[in-house]
């Protein structure tokens, strides 16, 4: 802390006024508002009627919402395995002495994560398209046109189909994070392991993974936070459909609030999204923290 120059309180106040006011206005005021309106029946018009916990009781029995929550969890799990798992395997390959073009793999691999979810959703819509999509083109090319279908209309497959673009988009992102963590490991460790006769697989599992544990933890947290808020690509690709087969929480909150203009219940859903996301993120953090500590002890 500064001791020699102590700025006047007024100066500090003036410097902080705008950013703090702006932050409070756009983050905390809406949160409080949502909490208040979640106790009202409000269809978006001027009339609001207090109805106590009714919205919350409805929410507890709202199958669509819980299904949407389940889909968020599905996305989280699929992306932790898909994005971070695949990224780790690819990193092990990139780091091998046998592999060339390392910089190109990094640059190209990272690229999709800089593109907007809207663009990627549109691109994958084209890939899945019934008539002009690449998948059906490929199936026809190998003579299996019987397998062609309107992919995103398939209730059973749709969650998987909207997850694939998400996984694909961020593999490179996690790859680069893991790569930079490995780069900071002392190479002596690998050399001595090699002298002891460890193969690539053993090195990855027993040396690299424990050493980059903290980075992997960051990756998992990022992955959870990112997928609890899934919205953009679902909105572009399926709008939660067919029916509610690919509904996620944010999409449902949007539909209830804006398509059905049920703002009271929409606010209640927003509060639920807030609480559930925090619980999932906090819960896994605690769980991982505990697991890793036990291992050390």
């Amino acid at each position: 802390m500064l001791t020699t120059i102590k700025p006047k309180g007024k100066t500090i106040f003036l410097y902080l006024l705008i950013p703090v006011a702006m932050f409070v206005f756009t983050v905390f005021v809406p949160l409080v508002t949502a909490f208040v309106y979640s106790f009202f029946e409000w269809k978006g018009g001027p009339q609001k009627t207090f109805n106590g916990l009714e919205n919350y009781i409805t929410l507890l029995h709202d199958n669509t919402f819980w299904k949407a929550f389940g889909h968020n969890i599905y996305l989280v799990v699929a992306c932790i395995i898909g994005q971070i798992g695949i990224a780790f395997v690819l990193v092990m390959m990139v780091n091998s002495k046998l592999v060339r073009f390392k910089t190109i793999h990094r640059t190209f691999g990272f690229f999709p994560s800089t593109i907007s979810a809207v663009c990627l959703g549109l691109i994958w819509n084209m890939i899945y398209h019934n008539q002009y999509g690449i998948i059906n083109w490929f199936l026809r090319a190998i003579g299996r046109s019987d397998l062609c279908q309107v992919w995103l209309n398939n209730t059973k497959l749709v969650m998987l189909l909207v997850t694939i673009p998400l996984i694909w988009q961020y593999i490179g992102y996690y790859m680069v994070i893991i790569l930079s963590a490995i780069a900071s490991i002392d190479t002596d460790i690998f050399e001595s392991a090699e002298l002891d006769g460890a193969n690539g697989f053993q090195k990855a599992l027993h040396i690299t993974l424990p050493l980059i544990k903290n980075t992997m933890l960051v990756c998992v947290t990022l992955c959870i936070a990112g997928n609890m808020k899934a919205f953009d690509n679902i909105y572009v690709m399926t709008k939660g459909g067919p029916g509610t087969a690919s509904m996620v929480m944010a999409m449902y909150g949007y539909q209830v609030s804006f398509n059905q203009s049920n703002m009271g219940y929409g606010s209640c859903i927003s509060v639920a999204i807030f609480v559930l996301s925090l619980l999932v993120i906090g819960g896994t953090r605690g769980l991982i923290g505990r697991l890793t500590r036990e291992k050390e002890a």
Binding site: M1, L2, I5, P7, I18, P19, V20, M22, F25, T26, V27, P30, L31, T33, A34, Y37, M93, S96, V99, F101, I104, R106, T107, G109, F110, F111, T114, A117, V118, C119, L122, M126, Q131, Y132, I134, W137, W168, Y173, V176, I177, S180, A181, V218, A225, K229, D232, Y235, V236, M249, A250, Y254, S257, M263, S267, S270, I273, F274, S277, L278, I281
Partner: protein, 284 residues
């Protein structure tokens, strides 16, 4: 000797597969862009007849049609996105610097309170604000304006920026500011003339991270912007999806135009961008 050569063959095969897998992965990451690039040069009929082949008579027709038709509002959307992104970045960098520095160095009563508040800002699931922010902005009559989106973009970008700056400032020795103070420099002068130049690298990192998230942001734009003339690029693209329903080459041309700034920026500065994004993700 025999064992040695067997080992070599094994290594060769392993190397071949690893290279092949990585090349396939890398190609898959840029293939969509390349597919769009050459397909956008096809007329609709040519594309529908052969979706994967290279164009036989490449034509810029789609680009000309999109850019000259004012009904598509593409130019306007680009301008809106450029303006919103630029102003948001400037404010995020400015505020992150000021708040981050003050929180790191100045002792005052509210210091820890504000610190915790911004820390909470990082934990808050932003998407739960989607509906409430609409309600509040509608109430205050500030939704659907040219400046509307700057508010959430700056506020959501601030916490990470503040923590990157705060961490950075703490690694700078205090003696610098003390020397400046002895030379008679006041707080503001030291802040802008001494600290700001030192913080430049971290501020560049903050800007890099935010450029992409502001340019690509969709959900809050969807909720807060109603006028076609005020929409940002991602919003415009979802409109095109309806308008150009099955005219894929035209959709592709529109997407490529809106992605062009990002693609150019990325491939020119990829090294700095990757570095900046990673340090932001790990530290933030």
């Amino acid at each position: 000797m025999k064992g040695m050569s067997g080992n070599k063959v094994k290594k060769g095969i392993l190397g071949f597969f690893m290279n092949a897998i990585l090349i396939i992965f890398s190609l898959s990451c840029i293939f969509p862009i390349i597919w769009m690039l050459y397909s956008s040069l096809k007329e609709k009929r040519a594309f529908n007849a052969d979706i994967i082949g290279l164009p036989k008579n490449p034509t810029p027709g789609n680009y000309i049609r999109i850019l000259t038709n004012p009904d598509y509002h593409l130019g306007e959307s680009m301008w809106n996105s450029v303006r919103t992104t630029t102003l948001s970045i400037l404010l995020i960098v400015l505020f992150s610097f000021i708040v981050g520095y003050i929180l790191a160095r100045v002792k005052f009563k509210m210091n820890r309170v504000l610190y915790t508040m911004f820390l909470m800002g990082m934990l808050i699931p932003i998407h739960s604000l989607l509906v409430p922010i609409y309600v509040v902005f509608q109430r205050c009559k500030i939704s659907n304006n040219w400046f509307t989106l700057i508010l959430p973009y700056v506020s959501f970008g601030l916490p990470m920026g503040i923590f990157l700056v705060e961490g950075f400032v703490k690694s700078v020795p205090v003696s610098l500011e003390e020397a400046a103070a002895i030379d008679g420099s006041n707080f503001s002068r030291t802040l802008w003339m001494v600290i700001f130049p030192i913080c430049r690298p971290i501020l560049v990192t903050v800007a890099i991270i935010q450029v992409f998230s502001c340019w690509n942001e969709f959900s809050f734009a969807l909720v807060l912007i109603k006028d076609v003339s005020l929409q940002t690029v991602p919003l415009a693209l979802t409109q095109f999806k309806g308008q150009f329903a099955s005219d894929y080459p035209k959709q592709m041309a529109a997407m490529l135009i809106t992605m062009a700034p990002i693609i150019v920026l990325y491939f020119v500065f990829s090294k700095q961008i990757i570095k900046g994004m990673v340090s932001g993700a790990v530290k933030g």
